[in-house]
C-alpha cells in the first residue's frame, strides 16, 4: 500500500501552489505530484482498451497474465487496459464573501477551493470524464456544463481563474437547481465553507443524492476558523453580513470551537447517514487528502 510518507508532497503544499502562475499549472502540479507518489496508477483498470504490458509481479491477478506472450517469450507479462468512462462530474464551488477569507493559510479559502476544483478537473480530464463547473454565492454566478471535449478543461480552468468572492452564500439554492437539472447519474463535488445554516444545505445535498448521484462535500476552512487563535479585545466584522461584535476572544474561544464542532458533527452525521462523503479540509494543508477522497468515491462508482 502506498503511504503518504512515500509521496512527494512538495507539489501539494498550498504554500508552493500559491506561488505558481496559472490555474492550469497549479492543477497539473497538484495532480502530477499526487500521481507520482502513488505506486499503483489510477488510470489502470478493467477496460476494453489495451494500454501496455508489464512484467508480472508477485501479487498480480493471475487472470491478467497474457499467456500468448508467455508462450512466445517464456516470460510472465500482465496486460493493462485503459479504463473507459461515462462519468459526468459537476464541481460546485462556493464563491461567497466568506470564501474570500484568508487567515494564516497561504491561500484564501476560495483560492484553495479553486485549486482543488482545477486539480479535480485536471484529474477527471485525464480519465476522460466529463467535467462541469458551477460557481455560486446566493445565486449561480458562473456555469460551465459538463463535457469531456479536449478544449473544455482549458475553459474550465480559465473560468476558475476569473472568479472573485461574491456576496452572501446560499448553498441550498444552487443545489436544488442542480438536482432538478441532472438527467443522468453523475458525481457532484461541493466545495464550500458550509458556514451557512446546515439544514437547507443538507436538504439540497440529499435532494441530489436522491437523484442517484454521488456527492462529495469538501468543507474548506481556514486554520483561524478551526482554531480561533485570536487574543486581546477585538471587534469582529463579518465578511458577508458586515455585522460587528466586540468581544474578548480568549473568553469565547472554547464556546466557539464547541459551536464549530457541533456544526461539523451535524454535517457529518447528516451527510454520512445519507451516503454522502463529507471531508473537512484545512486550507493550510496539502490537497492530497482531498484528491484521495475523490478517488475513493470514484472507485466506489465502479
Amino acid at each position: 500500500m502506498p503511504t503518504p510518507a512515500t509521496r512527494d508532497l512538495r507539489f501539494l503544499d498550498p504554500a508552493v501552489i500559491a506561488r505558481l502562475g496559472t490555474m492550469e499549472l497549479k492543477a497539473r502540479t497538484v495532480v502530477e505530484g499526487f500521481i507520482s507518489g502513488l505506486h499503483r496508477s489510477p488510470f489502470k483498470g478493467f477496460s476494453v482498451e489495451f494500454a501496455e504490458y508489464r512484467q508480472y509481479m508477485h501479487g498480480d491477478d493471475l487472470s491478467t497474465l497474457d499467456w500468448k506472450v508467455y508462450a512466445r517469450s517464456d516470460r510472465h507479462y500482465v496486460k493493462k487496459y485503459e479504463e473507459e468512462t461515462n462519468l459526468e462530474c459537476h464541481i460546485l464551488l462556493d464563491v461567497s464573501g466568506s470564501m474570500g477569507y484568508r487567515g494564516s493559510a497561504p491561500m484564501s479559502k476560495m483560492e484553495y477551493g479553486s485549486v482543488l476544483a482545477a486539480s479535480l478537473a485536471f484529474l477527471m480530464n485525464r480519465q476522460r470524464d466529463a467535467t462541469g463547473l458551477i460557481a455560486f454565492d446566493d445565486r449561480i454566478t458562473f456555469r460551465l456544463p459538463a463535457s469531456a471535449r479536449p478544449g473544455h478543461l482549458h475553459s474550465l480552468l480559465l473560468g476558475l481563474e476569473r472568479l472573485q468572492p461574491g456576496r452572501r452564500s446560499d448553498v441550498g439554492r444552487p443545489l436544488h437547481q442542480l438536482a432538478d437539472a441532472l438527467v443522468k447519474r453523475s458525481l457532484v463535488v461541493l466545495i464550500s465553507d458550509l458556514l451557512d445554516d446546515p439544514e437547507p444545505v443538507i436538504k439540497g445535498l440529499k435532494h441530489i443524492k436522491f437523484c442517484g448521484t454521488d456527492v462529495i462535500v469538501f468543507q474548506v476552512l481556514d486554520p483561524h476558523e478551526l482554531t480561533f487563535p485570536f487574543s486581546g479585545s477585538a471587534k469582529f466584522k463579518d465578511l458577508e453580513s458586515a455585522e460587528e461584535l466586540i468581544t474578548e476572544p480568549t473568553a469565547i474561544r472554547t464556546s466557539y470551537l464547541r459551536e464549530l464542532a457541533g456544526l461539523t458533527l451535524t454535517y457529518d452525521r447528516a451527510l454520512r447517514g445519507g451516503g454522502i462523503d463529507y471531508v473537512q479540509l484545512d486550507s493550510s494543508q496539502p490537497l492530497d487528502f482531498a484528491l484521495l477522497a475523490y478517488l475513493a468515491a470514484r472507485s466506489r462508482r465502479k
Binding site: 466568506s98 477569507y101 465553507d193 458556514l195 481556514d222 483561524h224 476558523e225 485570536f230 486581546g232 479585545s233 477585538a234 471587534k235 469582529f236 466584522k237 463579518d238 465578511l239 458577508e240 453580513s241 455585522e243 460587528e244 461584535l245 466586540i246 468581544t247 474578548e248 473568553a251 469565547i252 464556546s255 466557539y256 459551536e259 464549530l260 456544526l263
Partner: protein, 609 residues
C-alpha cells in the same frame, strides 16, 4: 474626618490614569474580519461579560490602591474620636423669648434636638442671652433634658458671640454639632464673624419672629418733662398710657399712639425730682413685659477729668476741653477742668476719674507721684503725644521697663482702624471709616513693648495704645490734640474719639447711673430696676437692652455666614492637637494595609483574567 496633610489628597487625581487607560483600551479594540461572527454571537457572551467585570474589578482595585495611598499620605484622623462627638444645644433665654408661649416652644424644640442625639454622642446644654452659661456639662441626654426643665427667660439681650466662644472652649480637640434654638434676632450679632473649632457644625432652630409688641426704648429726663421713646413692633397702630412713678407713687401719665414699626417720642409734663429714681411704664397687653418698663436714677453721675497742661501755654488743651464740654450736660458725661502741672496734688486728683496729660513740663516731683498713685489706684491716664510731653519722664513716673521709647515722625499719615470691637471704637460702628479722613503730619513712633495696640496709622505704626498700671489704665495717643500735628480737632469724629478714650481709661472710676442688664454691677443680680450699689450706696437704674425689641431677623443662611468653622490645623494649637490626635489614631497604617490588599486583589484578578 480631617486630614493632617490635606495637600496629599491631590495625589488622588492619579486615579485618572487607570481610568483613562481603561477607557482608551476599550476604544482601541482592533477590527478583525471574520466569517463566522454568527457563531460568535451564539457563543455564551457571559464569558465576555465576565471579562468586562474582571476589567472593572481590576480598575476598581487600581483606583482603590491609588486613593488609599493618597489617603494614607494625607494622614486622616477623626476629630470626634472620643466617641460620637458632642451635641451642644444652646437655648436663647433673652427677654424677647418671654413673649407668651414662646419660651415653652423653644424648650420643646430643644427637647427634640436633644432627643435626636446619636448613640455615644455627649450632650451639653447652654443657655444664653448676653452671656452664655453651661447649664449641663457634656454628658447624657437625660441630664440635659433635666437641666432644660429649669430654664427660664431672663432680662438679657441676645448675643450669639458668647455661645460660639463657649463651644470653642468646650469643643477643643473634638468635633460636634451646635444647635442654637433662637428667634434669630439680627441684633444678636454685634461682633465680627465668630469661629467654631474644626469639626463642628452649626444648626439653627428658629422659633419664629417677634409677636406684636410695644417697647419703651429710651427715656430723656428734662427738668419739667420726661420724654418716653415708644416703639411699636406690631403691624397695627397701638395706643395706650405712659405711667411715671416716683417710688411707689404715680406722679404723671401720658397717652401714646404709635404707628406700626415706628418709634415715637411721648412727652409727659412732670416736675422731675432731683434725687431718687423714676419708673416709667407703657401699656402693652399681650407683648413682652420686660421692655415695657424703664428706670431712671436721678441726679448727676458725671465723671471729672483733669486736663494737665504745661501751664505756660494757655492754648494747650483748648480743643480737648471744648470737646469734653459737649458731654458735660449728659447725666453720665465728663466734666473737664484744665489744671497746670505744677498745681497737681493727690488731693486734687482724688475726685477725678481720669487725667489727660498734655505736657510734662512744670510737673513737680509731687505731681508726678500723685499722677502715678492716682493711676495705680484705678484712675485713668490719657497721654497725648505732643512736643511738651517727654516719654522719659512718664516712664520714670511708672518705672516702666522697658521704658516708653518714642521717635518723632514727620510725614502724612492717617488712621487705619482694624479692630472696631474695642470699646473706644465700638460706638463708631460703621462710621469708623471717618477716622481715616484725619490727616496727621507728625506723630510718635512708639515701640509697643508692654503695650496693647488698639489701632494703627496707615503705615502700620501704633496710633493708640493701652496698658494696665496697677488698678488703673493708661492710654496713649501718638499725636497731639491741639492741631499742631494734625487736623483732628476739626473733624466731627474728634469729640466722640476723645470722650470714649477718656471714658475707657477712666474705667471703673466712672460712676454711671444707668446700666443695661448685661453690664450692670453684680449687686443688681442682672434684674431690671432701681438698685443701690457700691460703697457709696449710689442709686443706679438697670434697664433691658432696647436692641432686643428690634424686629430685624436673620435668615438661616445669613446666620451661618456669621459663623466660620476653623480649618483643621489652622492654628498652631489646633495643629498640635491634630497631630496628637492623628498620632493616637494612626489610620494611615490601615490605609497602607488596605492599599496592599487592593494591590494583591489586583494581581489575583489580573492573573485570573
Amino acid at each position: 474626618m480631617s486630614f493632617l496633610y490635606p495637600a496629599f489628597l491631590l495625589g488622588a487625581l492619579a486615579i485618572a490614569l487607570p481610568i483613562v487607560l481603561h477607557l482608551l483600551r476599550r476604544d482601541v479594540a482592533p477590527e478583525v474580519p471574520f466569517t463566522a461572527v454568527r457563531m460568535l454571537r451564539r457563543s455564551p457572551i457571559e464569558r465576555s461579560r465576565r471579562r468586562r467585570l474582571q476589567d472593572l474589578l481590576l480598575l476598581a482595585a487600581r483606583v482603590a490602591a491609588l486613593l488609599l495611598l493618597a489617603l494614607a499620605f494625607a494622614r486622616p484622623y477623626l476629630t470626634s474620636a472620643s466617641g460620637g462627638g458632642t451635641l451642644v444645644v444652646a437655648v436663647d433665654r433673652s427677654f424677647s423669648m418671654s413673649a407668651p408661649g414662646r419660651f415653652e416652644q423653644a424648650l420643646e424644640r430643644a427637647r427634640t434636638a436633644i432627643g435626636q442625639a446619636s448613640i455615644g454622642e455627649r450632650v451639653a446644654l447652654v443657655a444664653f442671652d448676653d452671656r452664655a452659661d453651661i447649664v449641663s456639662e457634656p454628658g447624657s441626654g437625660a441630664d440635659a433634658l433635666s437641666a432644660l426643665n429649669g430654664l427660664k427667660p431672663g432680662f438679657g439681650a441676645t448675643e450669639y458671640g458668647p455661645v460660639v466662644q463657649k463651644v470653642a472652649e468646650l469643643g477643643k480637640g473634638s468635633g460636634g454639632t451646635l444647635i442654637i434654638v433662637t428667634d434669630m434676632q439680627r441684633s444678636g450679632w454685634t461682633d465680627a464673624a465668630s469661629q467654631l473649632p474644626a469639626g463642628w457644625h452649626l444648626q439653627t432652630v428658629d422659633v419664629g419672629g417677634m409677636a406684636p409688641n410695644v417697647a419703651l426704648s429710651n427715656l430723656r429726663i428734662e427738668p419739667d418733662r420726661i420724654v418716653a421713646a415708644v416703639y411699636n413692633g406690631g403691624d397695627a397702630v397701638r395706643q395706650g398710657q405712659v405711667r411715671i412713678s416716683y417710688g411707689d407713687r404715680q406722679i404723671a401719665t401720658g397717652q401714646y399712639s404709635v404707628e406700626p414699626g415706628a418709634l415715637t417720642d411721648v412727652p409727659v409734663a412732670v416736675k422731675v425730682p432731683t434725687t431718687g429714681g423714676l419708673t416709667v411704664t407703657v401699656d402693652d397687653p399681650g407683648g413682652i413685659p420686660a421692655d415695657d418698663t424703664r428706670y431712671a436714677a436721678l441726679g448727676t453721675s458725671q465723671s471729672s477729668v483733669a486736663i494737665v497742661t504745661g501751664g505756660s501755654q494757655r492754648q494747650s488743651g483748648f480743643y480737648l476741653e471744648r470737646a469734653l464740654a459737649t458731654s458735660s450736660e449728659e447725666s453720665d458725661g465728663l466734666a473737664a477742668r484744665t489744671v497746670s502741672g505744677s498745681t497737681v496734688t493727690s488731693d486734687s486728683l482724688s475726685s477725678q476719674s481720669a487725667v489727660v496729660l498734655l505736657s510734662t513740663r512744670g510737673l513737680t516731683r509731687e505731681a508726678r507721684q500723685a499722677i502715678a498713685d492716682f493711676t495705680r489706684r484705678g484712675g485713668g491716664l490719657v497721654l497725648i503725644a505732643a512736643p511738651d510731653l517727654e516719654a522719659s519722664v512718664v516712664s520714670t513716673m511708672f518705672n516702666w521697663d522697658p521704658p516708653l521709647t518714642v521717635a518723632e515722625h514727620q510725614g502724612p499719615l492717617s488712621l487705619a482702624v482694624t479692630d472696631i470691637r474695642h470699646p473706644i471704637l465700638r460706638p463708631f460702628g460703621a462710621l469708623t471709616a471717618n477716622l481715616g479722613h484725619v490727616q496727621f503730619s507728625r506723630s510718635w513712633r512708639i515701640r509697643p513693648d508692654g503695650w496693647d495696640v488698639v489701632t494703627t496709622f496707615s503705615d502700620g505704626t501704633p496710633a493708640l495704645l493701652e496698658r494696665h498700671e496697677g488698678n488703673g489704665r493708661v492710654v496713649i495717643f501718638a499725636s497731639d490734640v491741639d492741631r499742631r500735628w494734625n487736623d483732628f480737632p476739626l473733624h466731627p469724629a474728634f469729640v466722640p474719639f476723645t470722650i470714649e478714650s477718656i471714658r475707657y481709661a477712666a474705667g471703673e472710676r466712672r460712676n454711671p447711673r444707668e446700666f443695661t442688664v448685661g453690664r450692670a454691677p453684680a449687686e443688681t443680680a442682672g434684674r431690671p430696676g432701681l438698685h443701690t450699689v457700691g460703697d457709696d450706696k449710689r442709686l443706679v437704674a438697670v434697664n433691658v437692652d432696647a436692641r432686643e425689641s428690634g424686629l430685624e431677623r436673620l435668615s438661616e443662611d445669613e446666620f451661618r455666614q456669621k459663623v466660620r468653622t476653623e480649618a483643621a490645623g489652622a492654628s498652631p494649637a489646633s495643629a498640635l492637637q491634630a497631630r496628637q490626635t492623628e498620632g493616637a489614631q494612626n489610620f494611615w497604617r490601615y490605609g497602607l494595609v488596605l492599599m496592599l490588599v487592593a494591590l494583591v486583589a489586583e494581581s489575583v484578578v489580573g492573573r485570573v483574567s
